[in-house]
């Protein structure tokens, strides 16, 4: 029996190619109606896991359950395949008109002509390509082609939509509106979707849950904010752009807080941990505040800020990152912060500048090391 609410459940999924393990996922569930994204670097096994879920590439070890029924013996493979739809990075359109392309999945299912016309027209409308209906698929732009591919997938009203980097090769101008349109269609139809992407922002924006993969394994699965703020290990922390990852040791525990020693300095974090244990500290760059030294101290020398961690630091590097500035700092230990262009100018941030660095105890995420 599989859990209620799970539309897909995988057990002991393992794919090996030429002796090396590409996917090794002991248990995996996709909940009914959710958008789950698989993220990770190239070669993490995201696409292979997705194709395993689609039951398209064999052989793989393990069992797949669709709404509690085992695919194969209890749920015929064709039935399962007809419950899913898949969109790849390449549009992979057929050499015919847009209409024929969107109709193809329905034709394969032997649907009646009138019903096909209706479903195709609806799907074309949802993706704003009704006017392209009679155009040859060869004459489409990249964005239009990918819209057609998505319309083709949605026309069959799939229970599960599997997306393999569908926006990766689009230019920003066609990418943005398409992501918005797809999100709207997924929401309004309540379609369950599994999205493979290496783009963190894309997955944060679209997903209800994120699974971070590396070297064939799923390291962490959880809602976007959880993965972002509470990575389970250094790899996930790095991948989600944690910025500052420090090694430390627990010195003592206070009320709701712990004091951790990092390179001889003391940092406070939320929670409590065994004294003496070695830990890893993660601090996201957007949670670190910079200020001019004088502004953060009252006349008696006490800090004005409510943040528990206040350090005097020196700017080691300022890197423009487009919409924000990445600031490297040295407070006896290295830190990374993001500031706006405006802050950079008002704080006169430049290499060698002395600055006050502050962050809350709750901004420090602690990973226990074993």
């Amino acid at each position: 029996m599989s859990r209620p609410g799970a539309i897909i459940e995988g057990r002991g999924l393992r794919v090996t190619r030429g002796g090396s393990v590409i996917v090794d996922v002991p248990s995996f569930t996709v909940e009914e109606g959710e958008v789950l994204s698989l993220i990770g670097p190239n070669g993490a096994g995201k696409t292979t896991l997705l194709q395993t879920l689609s039951y398209l590439t064999k052989p793989f070890e393990g069992e797949l359950f669709f709404r509690g029924r085992k695919v194969g013996p209890e749920c015929p493979v064709l039935t399962y395949r007809r419950a899913i739809a898949m969109v790849f990075q390449e549009p992979l359109l057929f050499d015919s008109t847009v209409f024929e392309n969107v109709a193809s999945g329905l034709k394969i299912r032997g649907m009646k002509r009138g019903a096909i016309r209706e479903a195709v027209t609806e799907s074309l409308g949802r993706f704003g390509i009704a006017h392209l209906s009679d155009r040859s698929a060869r004459s489409l732009s990249g964005g239009e082609a990918q819209r057609t591919s998505l319309a083709r997938a949605f026309a069959i009203r799939p229970d599960i939509l599997l997306l393999d980097e569908p926006f990766a090769s689009l230019d920003p101008r066609s990418r943005e509106p398409l992501i918005e349109d797809m999100q709207a269609v997924v929401k309004s139809t309540g379609t369950t979707a599994v999205l493979v992407t290496h783009d963190l922002l894309e997955s944060l924006r679209l997903s209800d849950r994120i699974a971070v993969m590396d070297r064939g394994r799923i390291l962490q699965t959880g809602p976007p904010e959880e993965v972002l703020n509470a990575p389970v290990d250094e790899f996930v922390a790095t991948f989600v752009g944690t910025g500052t990852i420090l090694k430390g040791q627990v010195v003592r525990n206070g009320r709701d807080t712990a004091t951790l020693s990092v390179s001889g300095r003391e940092i406070e974090s939320a929670g409590s941990f065994p004294v003496g244990s070695h830990v890893i500290l993660c601090i996201r760059p957007e949670n670190i505040t910079l200020s001019v030294p004088a502004a953060t101290l009252r006349e008696d020398g006490a800090p004005v800020t409510s943040a528990r961690n206040v350090f005097a630091g020196t700017v080691t590097r300022v890197t423009p990152m487009g919409f924000y500035q990445k600031v490297g700092l040295d407070c006896g230990f290295p830190l990374v912060s993001y500031v706006t262009m405006q802050s950079r100018e008002s704080l006169k941030l430049a290499r060698g500048r002395s600055i006050t660095v502050s962050f809350k105890a709750t901004a420090v995420h602690v990973i226990k090391k074993d």
């Binding site: 689609s54 590439t57 790849f88 992979l92 999945g105």
Partner: protein
């Protein structure tokens, strides 16, 4: 020079008056080679698709055998089919030797590997993920093969051209298994060989011209379809 001009003049006359013998030979040629091409398409496209889509031990060998088969010498095929159909041969009981049927068989044997090889290449040229996409759309194995064949239709037209072009101009096998029997198994190529060896150059030139025009016309039609379909 006189010989050629005279031959061309007489040939032209034979064509304009639609000489019954010439017409008979032409029609038989078209029928035999057309049917042989059809047979080779049925076998070649299905087998070519199957080989392209499946992985099995010894597949590499099969592929190289098909590619070798694309250049089968017609005379060898003629010899093989003759032995097969010989009165005391394995298929001798059919009594098919020296009939148009035997010629269709021999020509189909020549054309099939050509069609198969081109089909194989055409299928393998399609994006690999297209197969996954079609299966993900819910296709059965048979539907997959059909959709892929449709997607490869342009290169498959080339297979038709190459197959038909190969057998209509082939002489060795046809003469061996058909026997070049007047009014029964005489086709354009075998008749041309015979007339030329007899010194009847007018007749030979007329037949040769028809052969050229036929080959040209078939290819013209197919090429036009292909060009029309080609993306701008």
């Amino acid at each position: 020079m006189e010989l050629i001009l005279d031959g061309v003049r007489k040939a032209f006359w034979l064509l304009v008056t639609s000489d019954p013998e010439v017409m008979g030979i032409t029609l038989l040629s078209l029928r035999v080679s057309g049917l042989a091409t059809l047979v080779s398409l049925i076998i070649g496209v299905s087998t070519g698709t199957l080989v392209a889509l499946t992985r099995f031990p010894g597949r590499g060998l099969v592929v190289s055998l098909i590619n070798t088969g694309m250049g089968l010498p017609p005379v060898v095929v003629g010899l093989f089919v003759t032995i097969l159909l010989w009165r005391s041969g394995p298929l001798g009981f059919l009594g098919m030797l020296y009939t148009p049927g035997a010629m269709i068989l021999a020509q189909a044997v020549i054309a099939t590997p050509i069609v198969m090889g081109i089909t194989l290449a055409a299928m393998q040229q399609l994006p690999k993920k297209l197969r996954l996409q079609i299966l993900a759309l819910g296709a059965t194995r048979l539907q997959l093969a059909w959709i892929l064949t449709k997607e490869a239709r342009l290169p498959l037209l080339a297979a038709v051209m190459a197959g038909f072009g190969g057998v209509i101009s082939e002489v060795g096998a046809s003469i061996m298994v058909g026997g070049n029997i007047k009014g029964y198994s005489r086709v354009l190529t075998t008749a041309t060989v015979m007339e030329a060896s007899r010194g009847n150059f007018d007749m030979a030139i007329a037949l040769g011209l028809i052969l050229l025009v036929l080959a040209f016309a078939v290819n013209l039609v197919l090429t036009r379809i292909q060009q029309k379909e080609r993306p701008r």
